[in-house]
């Protein structure tokens, strides 16, 4: 443990900053104290459990299949999370899980196929985890935006259908807006990196003593991985949502939100 870049007392000290945030929230009457404490505690428990699992998965001699099995669990849980956050869209969890799988195949396939990283437990699980976390956030953003657009613009969409447009054409302007909403934060993050902020992966590597240029190269690969996977996933989900939100007879389904 003495070789670890951060000791347990360091984690405890950083938790004091959460205490500061809670105190400020109470002073300003924001009512966010419970949420801040809950989120911080949850992160502690989840990351602690993840550490235990990764220790087992990454242990010497473990088969690589165990890592891929863990990736499958992450994809399933991410799909369930998307379903829970946007319950208005039936079948969204399954659709998201399929899209996450497609994105994992494409992006990890490129990284491992081009031998950017070797295929082993220490690369498969972290890269897949990083990718899945980002695409899950983008998918929730996309789905929420689509639900809102289809609720607010229901009249417009039905007017287009009534003019004889097929559902793919009638939905296109609204799906396009939702896709832009989901992709723009990722594009902005990519654009601002290195000038306005240092990304987490790079900070972690620098703190761990990795040479700056090596850290930059890893960070670039990670950012391109995330950008590519978010684009693939949101496109697949948007296509799937279109099929979910209309019947085969080009009728707009009623969501529970409506």
């Amino acid at each position: 443990m003495t070789d670890a870049p951060v000791q347990l007392w360091g984690v405890a000290a950083s938790a004091l900053l959460v205490g500061v945030a809670i105190a400020l929230s109470a002073r300003a009457g924001l009512g966010l104290g419970r949420s801040l404490a809950g989120a911080s505690l949850r992160a502690l428990v989840q990351l602690g459990l993840l550490g235990l699992v990764l220790t087992a998965v990454l242990a010497q001699g473990q088969p690589i299949a165990l890592s891929w099995a863990w990736v499958a669990v992450m994809i399933g849980f991410a799909g369930f999370t998307v379903h829970r956050r946007v319950p208005e869209v039936p079948g969204l969890g399954t659709l998201a899980a399929v899209a996450f799988t497609a994105a994992a195949i494409v992006t990890l396939g490129v990284l491992f196929g081009a031998r950017v990283f070797p295929v082993n437990a220490t690369t498969v699980v972290p890269l897949a985890g990083l990718m899945i976390g980002n695409v899950m956030t983008a998918t929730v953003l996309l789905a929420r935006r689509v639900v809102a657009e289809f609720h607010d613009k229901r009249w417009e969409i039905e007017a287009r259908l009534a003019l004889g447009q097929p559902s793919s054409q009638a939905a296109a302007p609204y799906l396009r807006d939702a896709l832009r909403t989901a992709l723009i934060p990722q594009i902005e993050t990519t654009r601002a990196v290195g000038i306005i902020f240092l990304p987490g992966a790079m900070v972690g590597l620098l703190l761990a003593g990795v040479e700056p240029m090596d850290a930059v190269q890893v960070q670039l690969v990670v950012m391109y991985l995330v950008l590519g996977s978010v684009a693939v996933t949101t496109s697949v989900v948007a296509l799937g949502l279109r099929r979910t939100l209309f019947t085969a007879e080009h009728q707009l389904r009623v969501l529970s939100h409506n």
Binding site: W155, E156, A159, L161, G164, P173, E249, H250, Q251, V254
Partner: protein
Amino acid sequence: MLRRPDPRPAASLPTADQTNAVFGFDEVGFSMRGKAILRDLSLEVPAWGVTAVAGPSGSGKSTLTRLCNRLIDATEGTVRFRGVDVRDLDVLALRRAVGMVFQRPTVFEGTAMQNLEVTGVHDRDLQRSALAEVGLDPDVFGEREAATLSGGESQRLCLARVLLMRPDVVVADEPTAALDQAAARQLEELVCSVSHRGVPVLWVTHDPEQVERIADHRVVMDNGTVVGFTRSDEDPAGSTDPANGAAP
């Protein structure tokens, strides 16, 4: 005279026939989330003139119109377009034949002319004729942003969009509900002139005075079904329509 644009699989649609009802509803029911909105509704909508459907809010009038172009499907019974079950027709061709004007004037992003592009009719002259037909001077309104139009102008643009497709029938769901009296009268006159040219109109309203002004045939709805039907036998276009109303 506007020419019908190249039809999609419109050949499968039944041809206009003054002797048949334009729409037939046979013991139609519609339920959503377990709630019955239409029940045991039977009606024959004459193939000429303006058929006004009146009734209190929640009586199922708007639902009736949405069945005509299959924005929704009946959960019971059969809806017919010129004698053919609408479920046997190509739904996109049916929607181009059944021109629909909604209660809320719904314009899309872009200019008035760009709104007409949505119909798939790209002929500039036809688009200008359609605007002129509804009293919107194409030189004045053609390049105006649709979002800047008044409620009455927007609704007339919606009617122009429908007329550009040369529909076999116009279905209007309380199209004057959001308009002032002058704009409402203007729209009534426009739609009546369309019916005088031989295009039947199904017009939903909650205004009894409007029924008096526009209706050739009168349907009264309440509690999800037809409770009254009066049809005129005088066809101003000169043809007779022996089909009789099947409503109770």
